[in-house]
Every structure is written in C-alpha cells, then in structure tokens.
C-alpha cells in the first residue's frame, strides 16, 4: 500500500481523480453519519462497508499499474474496474481494454 503512483499515464490520472472524489465523499458520509440518530446510523453500515471496499480495491488496482510488470493489462483492469465502480452509467467502454483482457 505504500507504493507511489508516480509513473502513471494520463489515463490513469483520470482514474485517480475518480477515486479521490470517492474518498472525499466517504469522509463526508462518515461525518454525516456520526451526527445522525442511532436508527439512521444503524441503517447504513453495509453501504458504508461497500463504499470502503470499493475505494480500497480501486487503490489496489491503481497500485498494480505502478508496479509496471504488465502495464497495459494492469491499466485496462484498473480502467474497467474504476469505471464500473464509480461511473456505472458510463457506456463508453474502451474496446482496446476489452481486447487486452479477452485475449489474455
């Protein structure tokens, strides 16, 4: 987890912005929930857990790019994963990414 994402491509930078936005939203949600009544608080922990696992996985996906062992493939994985997770209404899947993953 202490890898640094210094060598990422421009494409990955877009992905990073999406994840960072998710992190800000998580912070806001936790603050809101901490001030809520118990009944409200007890309604959302599963949703919160899902937000957290999505963010954790997204960062892990980005870190694989940094390792650079299989850059194109890792970038494709991160791209599809982060788009699926944080932009569920985006229909512009990258056919190149599909190709890399299907053929491997």
């Amino acid at each position: 987890m202490n890898q640094r994402l210094s060598r990422v491509t421009i494409k990955a930078n877009d992905l990073i912005q999406l994840v960072k936005r998710g992190m800000v939203e998580l912070k806001e949600t936790v603050t809101k929930l901490s001030q809520a009544d118990d009944q409200v608080k007890l309604m959302y922990p599963k949703k919160l857990a899902k937000n957290m696992s999505d963010l954790f996985e997204a960062v892990v996906a980005l870190e694989q790019i940094q390792e650079g062992e299989t850059l194109n493939r890792d970038l494709a994985i991160a791209e599809v994963f982060i788009h699926q997770t944080f932009k569920s209404n985006d229909y512009q899947a990258d056919p190149l990414a599909l190709n890399i993953l299907i053929c491997s």
Binding site: N2, K27, K46, A49, S53, E69, L98
Partner: protein, 451 residues
C-alpha cells in the same frame, strides 16, 4: 480444462513473488505447483463425489443400541484430508519448515487455501477451524495444554493429526453469542460442560474442539464467556458428549455440521476466564480471512468455468466469446476477480504483519479488523454473483449438476452467513468507526498511495 490451478494463475504467482522472500517464494512456487495440479485433478474429483454421493453420515448407535455418535466420511475425503494437512496449510504458520529451517507464514497458507477452495470449499471449512484452533492453543493455552495438543493440531504427518473445531452457536441464535447458555462446572482442576451447541462444524471429525461456555456465577452476556478445550474422542467414548443429528445443508457438504450435546464433557480452561469471547473473536478474524480467500477461490473457479465454456461452446455459427455481451461479462468478471485477489492478499499481508508483531498498536489492529470486515463482506457477495454469472454463461447446462457452477453457487451461499453475516459485519464497521475513528487511518492509508 485447467490442469493446474496454480500455474494457470499469473496473478497469484505475481502476488507471492512480490510478497515473499526469494528463497521462500522458490519453495512456495514449487509446493503450490504440485498442490495446484492435485486440487485441479484428484481433489476436485473427490470433492464432486463427496458433494453428490459421499456426504458425511452419522452413525448414532452401535449394534447393541449404545449411543456412539460416530461420523463416517468417504475414503477419498480422508485422502484429501491427509494430503492437504501434510502441505503445512495449518502447521507451517506455527512451526519450522524443515526444508527452509524457518517458520512459515499466513501468506503461503492462504495461497494454499485459495487453491483448495477452487475445488473443495467445503473441506476448507475444517481447515479453517483447525487454523483457528491452532491459533487459540498457540496463543492462549498454558504450556501443558500446548505441549499436549498443539503438535497434533499442527501435524504435517509426523504425529497423529487432530483436526480442530470452534463451537459458538447455540439454538437461541448464532449472532447473539452473549445469549449462550452452555455451562462449565468446575471438577477438580478442570471443568465439565453441559448444554447444547447447534451449528458445530467438524463435529465427529475433530480431535479437539474450542468451546465457549459460561462458568457458574459468571455474568450474563459475552463478558461471562470462557474458552475451553474439549478433547473429542475421549469424551465421546465416555459418553460425555453426543451428536443429535447432522445438518442437511444446501452446500459445503464435505464438512459435517452437527448439533452436539455436552453431558459432562471434560474440558480444560484456556487462558483468562474473562477473556474467552475476546480470544474467540481474534480467531474469528483469522476465519474471516479464510472466508475471503475461499470467496475469491470460488470466484476464480466460476470465472474459469465460464471462460472455458464460452471458448468451447458454439452458437449461431461461432464461439460464444465472439459475442460482445459475452465479452463484456467475461471482462467484468476477470476485472473484479483480479482486483479482489490483489486486495485480499494485501489484507493477508497486513494480517501476517500484525500476527508477527506482538507490539502491534491498537490502531493497527483496528484497521486490520476493518479491512477484514469489508473484504469478507464484499468477496462473499461476489462469490455468489460470480457463481450466478457462471451458471448463466452455461445456459441450461449451468442449471445441471453435471457441470461445476451449481455446486459453486450452493457452496458460495454460506459465505455471506458464517463467520458473521453481512449485518454483523456492518455492525463491526460501525463499532470500529465509533470506537477507534478507524476511517481516519483507512483514508490516510489510501491517500498515502497518491503522494
């Protein structure tokens, strides 16, 4: 058809190469190559037989009508048991690996569990219980108990193997452990247990069971629960415990899950009597990592079955893989699978680090608990989703038990339930946020990746 679950999996190999010392990786790579072939071959065949025709059976009475409460399993299953424990899946985190002259780690053990779960997730349950038992004895039993039982629990073939078990659940409810009623009555230096455990997995197969019970005069709730080691066979032969019945389960049929009655079973107190629940919760975290590993194992198998079927199967004049919607499904599966595999082993790495550090800070422990909770929940749900997708990829064939996916779905369904339901995990997340403000450490750790 995949011939070797390890050599076919570049992601697992990459994870291990990046996380193990080179000499340990060389050892692990060799061992897992052998195990990967076995789980893709004979262990998979035996697992199918156990699931369909060879489930554990309870022999309740002998020919004279005496209660013997014996559990009978098939020969193939016994072979799988022997071969698997001899790999050190339970033993090596606790003892020196002769070939390396150093102690093993959980990274290697969980890699084995991930491979095993691709063919026999039912049997990974007893392995998990034995891991939890080894952890509890190693960390909290006194020297005498440890010397007597630990070598058997972590056996890799040099002494008789005692599989483990952890009995918590009672009839009044699984999640509400504080309502437990099984009593521990002092008898000399030791104790005798009375009462019933309702979901006792690996009953009849275990050599020792770790049991939560309440001493006389102990307070209500989880604070009044103490941890006991119960030798199974000695108590069974003395008719101090019995099995009422085995559960007829939807999946994970390899593991016998029973209703067990204690009728004065001899039990040894483990550790501080006031800390029994805390000890068990620590072991539960280990089991939740196993659950996560089992989930990604099922996800991997579901993906492989879907992928291979789509490659071979032709419809409308071409292989299924040439059709965009099939491609999209496969891409979504492989993407989620790979990311969750990396994330799971990231948690395993943290688990190894915290386990190896007796001075780990409360904040580190709380953060680990958070990662375990969120990943247990997410991967268990995905294991079900992946099995469902694999069935759908097979069309009508996917609904037929001749194919692998139906078993995957039946086995996966338990993963969101045992070791803490998703609701219980949600409460764990909330507790960690309120008590430790763990989200701050969580976000800090994620942010550090972007600096």
């Amino acid at each position: 058809m995949v011939q070797n679950f390890y050599t076919d999996d570049a992601v697992l190999r990459r994870i291990l190469k990046n996380n193990l010392d080179p000499h340990f990786f060389e050892f692990a790579d060799r061992q897992l190559s052998q195990f990967g072939e076995r789980v893709a071959g004979e262990i998979d065949e035996r697992a199918r037989h156990t699931d369909r025709d060879g489930q554990p059976k309870l022999i309740k009475y002998d020919k004279m009508g005496e209660d013997i409460s014996k559990v009978q399993v098939n020969e193939g299953y016994l072979k799988t048991v022997q071969e698997t424990y001899e790999t050190g899946i339970v033993g090596y985190p606790h003892k020196v690996i002769p070939e390396l002259n150093e102690k093993g780690n959980y990274m290697f053990s969980y890699a084995q569990g991930y491979l095993l779960s691709q063919s026999e997730p039912g049997f990974y349950c007893p392995v998990t219980l034995t891991m939890a038992t080894a952890y509890l004895i190693d960390h909290y039993a006194n020297a005498e108990l440890r010397a007597q039982f630990l070598p058997h629990v972590i056996s890799t073939g040099e002494v008789e193997l005692y599989e483990g078990a952890t009995f918590l659940t009672e009839r009044q409810g699984g999640s509400d452990v504080g309502a437990n009623e099984v009593k521990a009555v002092q008898d000399g230096e030791n104790y005798r247990l009375y009462g019933e455990k309702y979901f006792a997995s690996n009953a009849g197969m275990c050599g020792v069971a770790m049991v939560l019970a309440r001493m006389e005069g102990a307070p209500e709730g989880t604070k009044g629960l103490s941890l006991f080691l119960v030798p199974w066979e000695e108590n069974r032969l003395n008719q101090k415990l019995s099995i009422r019945r085995l559960k007829d389960k939807l999946g994970v049929r390899a593991v016998p899950s029973a209703e067990v009655e204690f009728e004065g079973a001899m039990a040894y107190l483990v550790g501080d009597p006031k800390q029994g629940f805390r000890y068990m919760m620590e072991a539960l975290n280990l089991s939740r990592v196993c659950n996560t590993v089992a989930s990604i194992g099922i996800m991997r198998r579901a993906y492989v079955e879907a992928r291979d079927y789509a490659k071979d199967r032709e419809a409308f004049g071409g292989a299924l893989t040439q059709y965009p919607m099939v491609q999209e499904t496969l891409v979504n599966l492989i993407t989620k699978l790979e990311v969750e595999t990396y994330a799971t082993f990231e948690v395993v790495k943290m688990f190894d680090d915290v386990m190896a550090n007796s001075n780990a800070l409360d904040e580190e422990k709380a953060l680990l608990r958070l990662y375990i909770a969120i990943m247990k929940k997410e991967t268990a749900e995905q294991a079900i989703e992946f099995s469902h997708e694999a069935i759908e990829m097979h069309g009508g064939n996917g609904y037929i038990e001749d194919f692998v996916p139906p078993r995957l779905l039946r086995d996966a369904q338990v993963l969101t339930v045992w070791e803490g339901t998703t609701n219980i995990l949600g409460l764990e997340v909330l507790r960690l946020l309120e008590k430790y403000q763990v989200h701050e450490a969580f976000l800090k750790r994620l942010e550090s990746a972007f600096k």
